[in-house]
C-alpha cells in the first residue's frame, strides 16, 4: 500500500494535465500582451519587447507566471488542501496590514510597493479564499443545509476578505467575491437567494430609473415594482406553495379592485397609488398569514417574507441611493442606467470606450491602427478598458472571438469541476469559474456601457502583474488538483 502510493505519487502531474485549459490560458495571455502593446503604442515607441513599455513588462510578468504555474504543478496537490486555512489566514493578515502600510493610490490603499514592483494582495486573496471555501465544504460529511452555522461559516470565509478589501477602498475587487454565491448555490443553497438578488437588482434599477412619469400619482418605477410584486405573489402561491385556492382568491381580489379603481378614475375620482397598492398587498398578506396559521404550510411564510422584504427594499432604495451613496457613485449609476448623459465627466470613459469599440466595425481598423487607442482617448485603456482596444482594432470579430474564448474557458472549468472526485476539488473549481464569470460580466459590461464603471480588470488581458499572477494561481492550482483526479478512486 505504502509502496503503491509512493509510485503513484511519483507519477508526473503532466500526464493528466488538462492541456485544453493550458492552451486557452496561453491564448488569452498572448492576446492580452498584444492588446496591451496596441493600447500603449504611440508614435515613437515601436518594440513590443521594450521593457520600459507596458507590453514589455507584461511579457516579463507572463514569463514569471509560467515559471510560477510550472512550480505550482510540481507541488503535491494535497498540500493545498492541508494548508488551505493557514494560507487563507496569512492572506487575511496581509490584507489587514496592507490597509495601514499601503500608499494612497487614487484613493485606494491596496498596493504593496517593493521598489519598482507593486503587488495587490487582493488579487492573491482570491485563490486563498477559494481554497478555504473548498476546504470547508470538503470537510467530513459537511452539508451546507444541515445547520445554519454551516452557512455562517461559509459566509464568514467569503465576507472576511470583502470587508478587508472594502477597507482598502477597492470596491470593485470586493464585489468579485459575491460571485462565490454561485458556489453556494451549486452546493445546495436555495435558488431563491439568487432569484431574490436578481429581483433586488431589477427593483433597484426600475425604481431609480423610471421616476420621470407617474401613474396613479406615484412614479412609474414604483408602480411597476408593485405590479411585479403582485404577479410574484400569485405565481409563488401557485408554483411554490401550491395553494391554488389562495392564489385564485387573491387574484380575483386584485382584478376586481383594479376594475373598481378604473371605474372611479372614469368618474373623475383619482385614488393615490400608494394607498391603493398598500391596501391590496396588505390585505393579501393578512389573508396569507391567516391561511398559514390554518394550514401550517411553511412556504407561505416565505411568501410573506418576500412581500415584506420587497416593499421594504423598494422604500430603502431611494433612501440608500440619495443618502448613502457618494455623489460620484450616484453619477456612475445614473450614467450607466442611461438616466444622465454626461460624456465629459462621469460618462467620459464609457463614452470614449463605446466610440472606440463602435468605430471598429466588423473587422476592426487593424493592429496598431486604432485612433482612439493610439491617441489615448480612453483612460485606463491598457488595464480595465483593454477590451476596447480589441474592439477598435480587431472589430466585432475580435470582440466576439475574445468573449468566446472566455466562455469556453469558463464552461471548461465547470466541466472540470464536475469531474472532480472530491468536494474540495469541485468547490475550488467552481470558485475559479465564479471569479471568472464576475470579472467577465462586469468588465466587458462596463466597457460596452451596460454596467456601471466598476474598476476590475479583464482576466489575462488587462495589464498588471498582480492580476495575472492571481489568475495564474487560480488556474494552475486547479490544473494541479485536476491532474491527480484519478488518484482518489
Amino acid at each position: 500500500m505504502e509502496l503503491r502510493s509512493t509510485n503513484i505519487r511519483h507519477q508526473s502531474p503532466f500526464k493528466d494535465l488538462d492541456w485544453f485549459t493550458v492552451v486557452l490560458y496561453l491564448l488569452l495571455v498572448i492576446g492580452g500582451v498584444i492588446s496591451i502593446y496596441a493600447a500603449s503604442y504611440n508614435f515613437d515607441k515601436a518594440s513590443i519587447f521594450d521593457f520600459s513599455e507596458f507590453s514589455g513588462k507584461q511579457i516579463y510578468w507572463i514569463g514569471l507566471s509560467l515559471v510560477l504555474g510550472f512550480m505550482i504543478l510540481l507541488i503535491e496537490e494535497r498540500l493545498y488542501e492541508t494548508y488551505a486555512y493557514p494560507i487563507y489566514i496569512a492572506i487575511l493578515i496581509l490584507l489587514l496590514v496592507t490597509i495601514f502600510i499601503a500608499p494612497n493610490r487614487k484613493g485606494s490603499h491596496s498596493w504593496l510597493v517593493f521598489g519598482p514592483v507593486s503587488l495587490q494582495p487582493a488579487e492573491f486573496a482570491k485563490f486563498a479564499t477559494a481554497l478555504a471555501l473548498a476546504k470547508l465544504f470538503g470537510g467530513y460529511n459537511f452539508n451546507l443545509n444541515a445547520k445554519a452555522s454551516n452557512y455562517l461559516k461559509a459566509l464568514c470565509i467569503i465576507f472576511l476578505p470583502i470587508v478587508l478589501i472594502l477597507a482598502q477602498h477597492e470596491t470593485g475587487s470586493a464585489l468579485v467575491y459575491l460571485g462565490l454565491l454561485f458556489v453556494l448555490y451549486r452546493e445546495g443553497m436555495s435558488g431563491l437567494v439568487l432569484l431574490a438578488m436578481t429581483m433586488a437588482v431589477a427593483i433597484f434599477v426600475v425604481t431609480i430609473k423610471y421616476t420621470e412619469h407617474t401613474t396613479l400619482s406615484i412614479p412609474d418605477g414604483e408602480f411597476v415594482v408593485y405590479i411585479i410584486l403582485m404577479v410574484a405573489m400569485i405565481s409563488m402561491l401557485i408554483f411554490y406553495s401550491k395553494t391554488l385556492t389562495v392564489a385564485r382568491n387573491i387574484l380575483v381580489g386584485f382584478i376586481s379592485a383594479s376594475i373598481l379603481i378604473w371605474m372611479l378614475g372614469c368618474l373623475g375620482i383619482h385614488v393615490n397609488g400608494t394607498y391603493f397598492f398598500m391596501t391590496l398587498i396588505g390585505a393579501a398578506t393578512v389573508y396569507i398569514l391567516i391561511e398559514l396559521m390554518h394550514t401550517r404550510i411553511m412556504r407561505l411564510a416565505a411568501i410573506i417574507a418576500m412581500t415584506v422584504m420587497t416593499i421594504g427594499f423598494m422604500y430603502s432604495v431611494n433612501y440608500v441611493f440619495s443618502s448613502v451613496l457618494q455623489p460620484h457613485q450616484q453619477q456612475r449609476i445614473k450614467v450607466s442606467l442611461g438616466i444622465e448623459n454626461d460624456p465629459l465627466r462621469a460618462g467620459y470613459n464609457v463614452n470614449q470606450s463605446k466610440i472606440a469599440i463602435g468605430s471598429g466595425g466588423l473587422t476592426g481598423k487593424g493592429f496598431l491602427m486604432g485612433t482612439q487607442t493610439k491617441l489615448k482617448y480612453v483612460p485606463e485603456q491598457h488595464t480595465d478598458f483593454i477590451f476596447c482596444t480589441i474592439g477598435e482594432e480587431e472589430g466585432f470579430i475580435g470582440t466576439t472571438a475574445t468573449m468566446l474564448l472566455f466562455v469556453i474557458l469558463i464552461l471548461r472549468i465547470i466541466h472540470i469541476a464536475e469531474r472532480q472526485p472530491t468536494t474540495f476539488g469541485r468547490v475550488y473549481a467552481y470558485c475559479v469559474a465564479s471569479y471568472l464569470i464576475v470579472h467577465f460580466c462586469i468588465n466587458i459590461g462596463m466597457v460596452i456601457g451596460l454596467c456601471p464603471v466598476i474598476g476590475i480588470p479583464l482576466p489575462f488581458f488587462s495589464y498588471g502583474g498582480s492580476s495575472l499572477w492571481g489568475f495564474t494561481f487560480l488556474i494552475f492550482i486547479l490544473l494541479r488538483i485536476d491532474a491527480s483526479r484519478r488518484l482518489h478512486h
Partner: protein, 618 residues
Amino acid sequence: MRKDYKLEKRKYVIAAFLIIIATIYAFRLYNLQIRDTRYKDFADNNAFFKKTIYPSRGLIFDRNGELIVFNEPAYDVMMIPRDVEPFDTLDFCNTVSLTREQFDKRLDDMRHAPGYSTYTPQVLLTHLSVEDYGRLQEKLYRFPGFFIQKRILRQYNHLTAANVLGNIREVSPADIERDPYYSPGDYCGDLGVEKSYNDALRGQKGFEILVRDAHGRIQGRYEDGARDIPAISGRNLTLSLDYRLQEYAESLMVNKIGAVVAIQPKTGEILAMVSSPTYDPSKLSGRQRGANYRELVNDKFKPLFDRSLMGVYPPGSTFKPGQGLILLQEGIVNLSTAYPCYHGFVSGGLKVGCHGHGSPIPLKPALQTSCNAYFCWGFKSLVDNHRSKYGSAAEAFETWKRHLVSMGYGYPLGTDLPSEGRGFLPNAEFYNKIYGKNRWSANTIISVSIGQGEILATPLQIANVAATIANRGWFITPHAVKEIQDSTIAEKYTTRTYPTVDSKWYPEIAEGMRMAVLGGTCRLANLPDIAVAGKTGTAQNPHGRDHSAFIGFAPYDDPEIAVCVYVENAGFGAAFGVPIGSLIIEKYLKGKISPERQYIEDNMLNSNTIIYSGVKKH
C-alpha cells in the same frame, strides 16, 4: 463520495447564466460595431483635427485693370471649448487687449450663439490687431484649446461703387444650413458682385488633417499630409465698371437722391452704376462692420438700397422713344402722321398738358419737343381705333405690353447683380379688375402712354432701352462683370437680344432723340465735338417735386456710351438729368470737360436737391 445528481444539474443554471450574459453582450457589440455607423465618425472627429486653410478671396479690378478690392490678412481667435483647460484669464485678456468684463461677455455671447458646440471651433474674437496677434501667437502654448485662424479682410483702393462691389460678412446659421461648405466664422459675399459672384470669388477651402490626442495636443500630420486638401484661391473678377467714371458720376450725384447707369451699348457692359446717396464700402469691412451696418440700415436715405437696380420710378418722357417704336411697328403711325397739340391732349373732357410748340406735329419733332399730345393720340389710336386689327381694347393693350416687355420693361433684365427690381407694367387683366371688363378705354389709362400712371421701371431698364436705341435695335443684357479669371461669363452677357420692334424703326427714333439735343429739350447736352442723342424725362410722382430724368447716347453714329440719369425731386429733366448725363458722356468720351461747359460741372457738383426730397434727416 456521495454524488448529488440533483445538485449537479445546477451547473446548467450557472452555465446558462454565463451564456445568456455573453449573448446579450454579443448583441450589444453587434449594435455598437456593425449596426450603428455613427461611432466611426465620432472616432474620426476625436482623432482628426481638420485645420481649415482659407483661400484668398478673388481680387476685383475695374475694366482697365485698376485694382479696386484686395485682401489683407486678419486674425480671429478661435477656441474649441471642449479642449480648453484652466488658464490664466487675466494674462489672456491683457494679451488680446480686453478687459475681464468684455472677455466674459464675449464668452457668454459665444455660448448663446446659434450653432454653438463644445466640439467644434468657435469664434471668440474677430479681427485681432497685428500687435495683439503677435503677442498672442507667442503665448498661445499657454492657452490650450485656443488657436488663431487666419482670415482675410477686404480692403479698397478706391472708395467707390459700394453698391456694385458689395461686401463680405460672416455667414449666418441659415447660410450654414443652406450650404454645407460653410462653418461658423466663415465669410460670404453680401450685396453686389461679392454676393452674385461669391462662388467664383471664395475659392475652395483646404484642409490640413492633423492628428490630435485626448488632451487636444497635435501629434503630427495624418499620413504626412497625404490626405490634406490644399486651398484653391478665389478667381479674380474684372468689372465692366470704369472706376474713374464711377467716381465722377458719384461726385455729380452728391447731395442728390437718385441713380445713374451708364452702359457700353455694344457689349452691354455697365460702365458706371451710381445709387445716391452712396457710402464708403470699407465701412462694411472689419471689426466695425456691425455698427456701421446698423447705421446704414437706419439711415433715412437708405444708402444700402441700390436705386439704380432696385429703385422703381415712373419713366416719364424717357418712355416716349419706346412708344414711338411701338406705334411705328404696329403701323398706327407712319413718319408723316401728325397729331394736333393744343397745349396738350384734349379728348372727352380729359386734358393732358403740354408745352408750347407747333401743331400738328409728326413723330420726330414730337420726340424733339417731348410732345405729350402726340403719344396720347397715338396710344388712343392703338387702343381704341384698331378694333378690327386687335379685336378689343384689351388685346390691343396686351400687344402694346408685349413690345415693352421685349424691350426689358416689367421683368428683371437678368443682370449679374443681386436683387434686381422688376418695375411694373400693368396688363389688361389689371385694368379689368379696376374698371371692369370692357369698361375701360385709352382715355381711362392715357397716362401710361407718356410713362406715367401705373408704369414703373428701374434706371437699369431705362438705360437698357437707351442702349438698344444706340445699337439701333438690339441689346446685350447689362452686366457688371466683364471677365472671370480662368472662366467665362454667362452666355446671356455676350449674346444679342432683339426686341419685337423691327430694327428699321430704330434709326428714326434715334434721329428724333438727336433732334432733341440739337434743338429740343436736351440742348444742354449738345457737346461741341460729340454728337449726342437724348431724351429728357420729367416724371410726376407722388413723393413731391418731379423727378428729373435723362436718357442719351453718344457718339450718335457709333455709340460708345448710353446713359440714364434719375434725380429724385429735382424738377424738369433739363434741370439735372441732362447736365449730369451729358457731363458723364463727355467725361467718358473725352476724359475731361471742355472749358465752356465747366460751369455746368461746377453747378452740378455743388447743387443740392436732397432738400426737396421731403426726408427729414433727424
